[in-house]
Symmetry: C2
Subunit: 220 residues, 2 copies
DNA sequence: ACCTGAACACCGTTCAAGT
DNA sequence: ACCTGAACACCGTTCAAGT
């Protein structure tokens, strides 16, 4: 009984391939299994076709990943309307970073495959707006946006990949065990080098970046 | 005559596998063919053995890449003895970035697989020394080192991978074509967003980071 | 124009078996 | 303990052939 077909086909008709459908399927695989599984072959399997078919709509794997990021960028909370411009700036950047931290491997690929979709432009516009409202000169604000977005992306990307926990632990040990005669500063600063929650360090980093952008003139 | 063996074997005796020998061979492949070819299989072929043999000395591919970076770190010029602490700081950081820029894919993997070898520790010690000599408080200097190294690594990593040129071009177009009514700041700042040589931007970024580190207190 | 099967040229990692 | 062949379970991308 359970195997009796309800129509001529047991499954819904295979939908036509579109770029949008491909990206949607890619996002679904990302959420369920991570970016490592968002491969041409796995995606083709999901869409009930062969990998070669996807190349009509997507140039290569990198472009596919960039499209996926653009899609997720639409879910990032916009800047809060209330508060000091610095606070608001930090909030947007934190929200962007938090989204990337849910998919660190995507952040890693975003560092290389630059997004250029509507959602990314909207984010740039927001950051420029906030910096300008804080009185930051136009050139500094423009170069500063790059710095802020790069920091957010790189911070998330650091959490990608296999054994980053293990590597971090190795560095922690190396810092704690550095002999004071050859590495006096490390020995004196070991605690400070390793202190702070990730949230506290991210917040401090954004504040330092904002202060630096404010106080550093662009050449010429 | 040319094919006559000079001893029982035509080739020198196969050297015993060591971790050091593996890393050396990996560096050679990196220089000749790029990180993409530094794979377990390719490396095994180079060392005239099977890929499984390498797993006695190296946990996995990520660890191999980290060891390669540590090796290259030894070639980075030390800090100049002369000059203002800011200038000296910028020089070391620029030298480190330049090395990574010769192997951007290695920078990409360094963002995830943290180095912890002697050369990396030496670099951290140098950066701490310079920041402290500029009067930066210990905690700020410690957190700042992270920020500076991350920026250098991420900047180099951005140049890794396939079609980053193409992606960059797409972003350039998107910024230039952003309509002024929906994206007034981008429209007004398009030139500034795209101005400056990579060198000028890197130099500005390091200065902004240093200024930010100087002017931003660590919480608590 | 779009879609496909099949092929080319690779991967990382594990494991049982050897020395 | 160290080393290995062979296997498992995958990859991206291209191309000639079909519809």
């Amino acid at each position: 009984m359970s195997t009796a077909p309800r129509s001529r086909r047991a499954r819904p008709a295979k939908p036509a391939l579109t770029r949008e459908g491909i990206v949607t399927a890619a996002v679904a695989i990302l959420r369920a299994e991570g970016l490592r599984k968002v491969t041409m072959r796995r995606l083709a399997q999901e869409l009930d076709t062969g990998p070669a078919s996807l190349y009509v709509y997507v140039r290569n794997t990198d472009e596919l990943h960039a499209a996926v990021l653009d899609e997720l960028l639409g879910t990032v909370a916009p800047a809060p309307a209330e508060g000091d411009w610095r606070e608001r700036l930090e909030k947007v950047l934190t929200a962007y970073t938090a989204m990337l931290l849910q998919h660190p491997s995507l952040a890693r690929s975003a560092l290389t495959a630059w997004p250029s979709g509507p959602n990314y432009l909207r984010l740039i516009e927001t950051l420029l707006d906030l910096l300008r409202s804080g009185g930051v000169p136009r050139e500094q604000a423009a170069w500063g946006v790059d710095l802020l977005l790069q920091h957010a992306t790189a911070t998330a990307a650091e959490h990608a990949g296999g054994d980053s926990q293990g590597d971090r632990q190795a560095l922690t040990r190396a810092l704690r065990e550095a002999p004071a005669d050859t590495h006096p500063h490390i020995a004196a600063s070991a605690d400070a080098l390793l202190s702070g929650t990730p949230e506290a360090r991210l917040s401090w980093a954004f504040q330092a970046l904002i202060n630096g952008i404010e106080h550093t003139a662009v050449p010429h």
